[in-house]
Symmetry: C2
DNA sequence: GCATCATACTCAAGAAAATGATTAGTCATA
DNA sequence: TATGACTAATCATTTTCTTGAGTATGATGC
């Protein structure tokens, strides 16, 4: 029971199809949860059966028909209950960290490459989130928006996503530099 | 095939029993992976069957007997292959973020409480990791240790863990402040 | 002297998540 | 005019993770 609340949370801002949701889970929602399209479709089906979301068919001419979902009162109640319950702690879980842990014992070359790829992926995400934040707050500056903005939830989670990506990028670059220097030092011996 | 590599990575630094590993997964290893004891025991059994780790029985007088495991050559090879393969991107996945996303739509009181609990849990973790880092680098300062230290892998992953916890704490405190101020502003209206 | 904690591990069941394959029309582009 | 990307989804399977219970002994604290 975990993805379900992320879906409800994402759906709170309007009507979305499974497909649109899966796009949202690639960008904004990715700051607090991640899921593949198949998971979303499955979850939406379950949520609809339980009456927590409701969908309506939208017939389209040039595109396949779609079903738009919105949160029902029962869904909202479920979210409220969830928000009041204790949260599970959050964990880091990252292949690349596992590799760094053993990088000095096995080959470092490939790990360095991957760190650099990650760093530039993080850089791209940082820019994307920067734009998203600017868009969300409109004309106001951040302080102002956070004080009086109507809908700050998505902004707040984006802030966390941004900080996470920045931390990730900085770490990747630092570790790359460290491993690089050790490589040349090793070579000299 | 993910926990398996975290276990191999953790086991690379010496012999550990399942129980000891589960302790390591609460502290240092938690910086790159998380798992419950049951998962570890199960994974060790699998890894042993596949010949990637080997265990030996240690008979103890005052404590229950235990099995100490170490990585075999095949296990090392598996790790090397893993390190060379592409990594899956890392995701945030956090109940609390889901709650913040909807905090301005549903009740904020409980979310604020949870943010504060998280902040102090992060604070505790920060101290713990600070000590761990000091212990790992011994007398040397960080730059020096990273240049010439023998085993920097665990240090590097701890650095990421530390930065993550700091980012998490800062975010929690900031959001707490924002939500608090909005509460009082709302009340005045 | 009783309770609780720490060591050390096992088993089973169930929920959640990831993976892979498939369908089918539209649109842009090379 | 083939190629691939985009919209919109479904189905089946497998892997992974979580939850909960249980066993047994010694040490520590009040």
């Amino acid at each position: 029971m975990a993805l379900r609340h992320a879906v409800l949370a994402a759906l709170l801002d309007g009507e979305y199809s499974g497909y649109q949701l899966s796009k949202a889970f690639d960008i904004g929602v990715a700051n607090f949860w991640h899921a593949l399209p198949q998971q979303l479709y499955a979850e939406l089906t379950k949520l609809e059966k339980e009456g927590l979301v409701a969908g309506r068919q939208v017939v389209q001419e040039t595109r396949p028909n779609k079903r738009l979902f919105h949160v029902t009162d029962a869904g909202r109640a479920e979210l409220e209950q969830f928000a009041a319950a204790v949260s599970k702690p959050s964990f880091i879980r990252d292949d690349l960290l596992v590799k760094v842990q053993v990088a000095d014992r096995i080959g470092t070359a490939s790990v360095i490459e991957q760190l650099e790829e990650r760093a530039s992926a993080a850089e791209a995400k940082i820019e994307l989130l920067g734009n998203l934040l600017r868009q969300l707050r409109g004309d106001a500056d951040e302080e102002e928006f956070l004080r009086r903005g109507a809908r700050i939830g998505p902004y707040l989670t984006c802030l966390r996503g941004l900080a996470f990506e920045q931390g990730h990028r900085d770490w990747c670059l630092r570790i790359t530099a460290v491993l690089r220097e050790r490589q040349t030092t090793d070579a000299k011996r």
